[in-house]
Symmetry: C2
Subunit: 291 residues, 2 copies
């Protein structure tokens, strides 16, 4: 699809936003006024042909929606409310117009669904595989962002939903746990989203918090197999910790919550305990990313 | 270069920022507290191999710096102060480690130079040409952002620096006009940066403001030829307007300022007048982008 036609389509689909968004596409920057006493949270993500999806028969509309979902899942993990989304695409001119428009429609629909203004972006025509890049900006009451670094030894370890479901149907629509993340403000001591697989993500959380952890395998809410629940990734559920005396309901913001273990001192490492009480190291076997 | 090694390098180089940046690389989002009474401004840009620079012998360190410069130039055009930068790269594994590290070093040094915190990003290993994507977040006193839409008939038209210089040495380091943009707050009625060439960018400004314009060719501060000054692009100077009774010094924030014409009623279109007073339409012959 030609760059100029792409730009015209994006201008048509994007830019509708809340009144706090004073300026969007058409100026050098988007201009937005955060609420009083708020902190800004920012995340970026990418979707590359041949890496995150196969080159042939990739469902464009779903991919556009998934890129938004992945960005919003990071906002959810901080307990934030999404506000603005920006889309950069570097696409080969040979990509069919229908594919491009479907991707953009999926992106636009998903931002609307989660009340996030599509506030800008950039278009480049390249000669190689398609790359799309999202930035999402959200806000959170100052000092209340859920960080990865707040867990302490003795905290209990929880996950939302069921894990390993993505392995059953990899190209699912993502439901970012925004309402859950917001409900966890003031309750969770640490939180992150499960994008790389529980085994890898738990290591990240423990490292940032300076703790160890023990996961009780029989308690993990498994959608298919334990191996997939631990290592598959792409679940976009929340992994979080809370003090043992904090009441965490088994259902919160319409999602099932399961206690799967506890935090320990750092020196104990990250371990998994089977039904017979045998304990071994939980190796990080999921994906590796920047953060 | 391997993804894991890239991530380690980025973690090492990035994340150092002002205390208002509470959290950066290592968590799901960066967390940042804007100043009281401030609006947030956001811009994104891309740099693609084979589009913005040739595949062979591309000077990596300069490219990393230029990507920052292009983002900051948009912040300058709004009269803003840059705060956070995010870098997404989709790079082929075959890119030499030295090239990647030089690009990252150029990016890191340029963010430091302009007191902007490199606060996060994403890394993907792809099979095609390199694509890098930047998001810059800045702030501006609420209501004082310099928009493209504020020009009125009768306003005078100004540019900073000399135009067409990029044509002489295309792969220059970019000096974003941040101090100038900030000095223009409360003085300029509209402002944008010259990235696509004066002829094209003036059309953008006129369209957003709903005005026409007349440029007096002999007044344009030409670095090489008039054609290059009008159509080459990549100058990253500021184009702005001010009421005729607003005093605009010929030198502001260490940059030469030149009055090159005036705004007219929309119906008159965008025109150029030669030394003999002959007037014709100024066609947009520069680049076309999203905004």
């Amino acid at each position: 699809m030609q760059e100029r036609a792409l730009i015209a389509s994006i201008r048509h689909m994007a830019g509708h936003g809340p009144s706090a968004l004073r300026v969007s596409i058409g100026d050098d920057c988007a201009v937005w006024r955060p609420g009083t006493g708020r902190e800004i949270i920012v995340t970026t993500d990418q979707l590359a042909e041949g890496v995150h999806y196969p080159a042939a028969n990739a469902p464009a509309r779903l991919l556009g929606a998934r890129l938004v979902g992945r960005g919003l899942s990071d906002i959810a993990a901080m307990g934030g409310e999404p506000r603005l989304a920006f889309l950069n695409v570097a696409w080969p001119t040979a990509l069919p117009e229908r594919w491009c428009l479907d991707f953009l429609r999926g992106f636009a629909a998903e931002t609307r669904r989660w009340k996030t203004a599509w506030a800008g972006g950039d278009v480049s025509s390249i000669s190689g595989p398609a790359v799309a890049s999202i930035t999402v900006i959200g806000e959170v009451p100052a000092g209340q962002a859920l960080l990865r670094s707040g867990a302490r030894p003795g905290d209990l370890l929880y996950v939302s939903g069921r894990l390993g479901a993505a392995a059953l149907r990899n190209m699912r629509r993502i439901t970012p746990r925004l309402a859950l993340g917001q409900a966890l403000r003031g309750r969770a001591t640490a939180c992150m989203d499960l994008s790389d697989g529980l085994s890898t993500d738990l290591h990240h959380l423990c490292k940032e918090s300076g703790v160890g952890a023990v996961v009780e395998a029989p308690r993990i809410p498994v959608a298919s197999t334990l191996d997939r629940a631990l290592n598959w990734g792409e679940d976009y559920e929340l992994l979080f910790t809370a003090r043992p005396n904090t009441r965490i309901p088994t259902r919160l913001a319409d999602v099932t919550i399961t206690c799967i273990g506890r935090c320990t001192r750092r020196a104990s490492g990250v371990r998994i305990e089977d039904a017979d009480g045998r304990c071994g190291p939980l190796e990080p076997r999921g994906w590796q990313h920047l953060g």
